[in-house]
């Protein structure tokens, strides 16, 4: 049976033909809108072109100019700052929530839906609401909460010192959107809120695959909650964690809409919210420098590629597939 007969060989090629027919629609679209543009974008990055005039070959000039441009460097720094703070926070918080949701609780699906809702909402509508929450002119929700929190802390201080300390803390409203050093933190807050639900759902799927017998065995051995988490949960969900970390990182590197909407079409004060995609968008569709913008997009691609490779290397050591 292992030696292919003439008939089996023939049927293999017939199957190959049909397989390619089944893949044809996907092939055509990916070819036109993914494979071809990947190459074209790379070639374009060596040219100057404004979409109407002639293309001129400039070699590596676009790339050289990119790395001389302080705004582009700022875009790289801002984007990295955003990615490497928002992704770990989101992952830790959502793993924590997922573990809580995975305990034997009622109304699990309602809680899950509650956390999931931000993820399915349009980034434009969601950012619009946050813009309103960040508002400065005395009626922003965030400032109101911080004010209340200050009152609460002061009240506790007053009680604990038996009336000795009055108005320990004072709070003046923060102009969230007009402070350049707060631009990225604002985006991080917004993004943690928005992305958590997706991670929770995926983590839950991973957690449900951990066999309960392992926990029972550990309990017999007198393992603590932390030990069970550290030595059973964490290793067994490592493929899920790996998947989420890659997906989140790639997604976070591409942040655009939130900045665009939160700062009304600008990258924030002093380019404080200038991200790599914003930069590419601005150069391409603001200044019509298609070649230069393509070079910027390729640098972004390269950075994502490098970080994905690094993560894959780490995962080889840390991810345990059962």
């Amino acid at each position: 049976m292992n030696i292919p007969t003439k008939y089996q060989k023939k049927s293999f090629w017939i199957e190959t033909f049909w397989a390619y027919m089944y893949l044809l629609p996907a092939f055509i679209i990916l070819g036109v809108f993914v494979f071809y543009p990947v190459v074209k974008s790379f070639i374009m990055s060596f040219y100057n072109w404004d979409l109407i005039g002639t293309k001129t070959y400039v070699g590596l000039e676009n790339y050289k100019e990119l790395f001389k441009d302080k705004v582009f460097l700022k875009a790289i720094i801002n984007t990295s700052y955003f990615v490497f703070v928002s992704v770990p926070i989101t992952m830790c918080l959502s793993l924590f929530i997922a573990i809580l949701l995975n305990t034997n609780i009622r109304a699990r699906s309602w809680y899950r839906l509650a956390f999931f809702i931000p993820w399915i909402t349009s980034p434009v509508a969601a950012t619009m609401v946050w813009k309103w929450i960040f508002n400065y002119n005395n009626y922003g929700l965030l400032n109101y909460f911080l004010l209340k929190l200050t009152h609460l802390i002061n009240w506790f201080a007053y009680i604990f010192t038996l009336g000795g300390v009055e108005n320990w803390l004072s709070f003046s409203p923060i102009n969230w959107l007009n402070n350049p050093s707060l631009t990225i933190p604002n985006l991080i807050l917004l993004s943690v809120w928005k992305m958590m639900g997706y991670n929770i759902v995926i983590f839950l799927a991973g957690l449900q695959n951990v066999p309960t017998e392992l926990y029972e065995a550990a309990e017999v051995d007198g393992a603590s909650r932390w030990q069970k988490f550290r030595h059973i949960t964490l290793p067994l969900i490592s493929p899920t964690t790996f998947f989420i970390s890659i997906i989140s990182m790639i997604g976070a590197f591409k942040i655009f809409t939130q900045v665009f909407v939160l700062y009304s079409g600008t990258p924030g004060l002093d380019n404080s919210g200038m991200t790599m995609v914003f930069y590419v968008y601005d150069k391409a569709f603001g200044e019509w420098r298609m070649g230069y913008a393509s070079a910027g997009a390729y640098v972004l691609f390269f950075i994502i590629f490098i970080f994905t490779l690094i993560q894959m290397q780490i995962s080889k050591k840390r991810v345990h597939y059962s």
Partner: protein, 277 residues
Amino acid sequence: MGYQIKEKIVRFTVYLILTVGAVFVLLPFFWMLSTSLKIPSEIASMPPKWIPSKFMWENYKIAWNAAPFARYFFNSFYVAIACTFLELITSALGAYAFAKMDFFGKNVLFIIFLGTMMIPGEVLLIPNYITIIQLGWVDTYKALIIPWVVSVFGIFLMRQFFLTIPKELHDAAKIDGCSRFRFLWQIIIPLSKPVLITAALFKFVGSWNAFLWVLIVTNTPEMRTVPVGLSFFSSDVGTDYHLLMAASTLALMPILILFFFLQKQFIQGITRSGLKG
């Protein structure tokens, strides 16, 4: 402390954390809804009013008529439904080939397909925009739909699910003289309902929420979808937050309703396919 009391405290803490967390996560939506129903003088009131003293349902009518929202919604629905429907077809066909057929170059091709998931769409933005111009598709539905009717993620998701369908079923069907296409259409597809719903929802939501691409390839209000329309609306009405929030609420409703009814199947699709990593 007894084991049972300790267990009760833990359970209480779990509920407390989850409830507080859920309240904070949903608060922005409640705030949006509440603002959308306020009279302008109440918007800026301090302390904030959580429940408007008078429910101004007219705000929705004013917002709806202040921009061609009917058109934006039609466009969004049309594009999202078309994208989802076509994507399900291309993904099911592709996933079937990868899961159930043995063919030349299968593994290499699969890796190439998966590799495209790593490419940031922004790298493709400029050349694709140029392609759209060359095809004369600027400001048409074609530009909004056709580039998005294939999703490698969808193919991957469905393949993982199709793989769990036993080979014996295929063999039995083959013996009974069932063609490949009929097998896919009449046996695999009905069995794969959860994963089809998951893939469809992912696509629908992605399509409904798409922003940058729509912003670039449309230039008349007639072709805008809800998110892009909303962002233009926001600069038009400026700080009329009650109108902005009314429009934002409207923009969220279709997706929320869809999820409310389909969340069970959606989660099932994720859990039962390979998405867990």
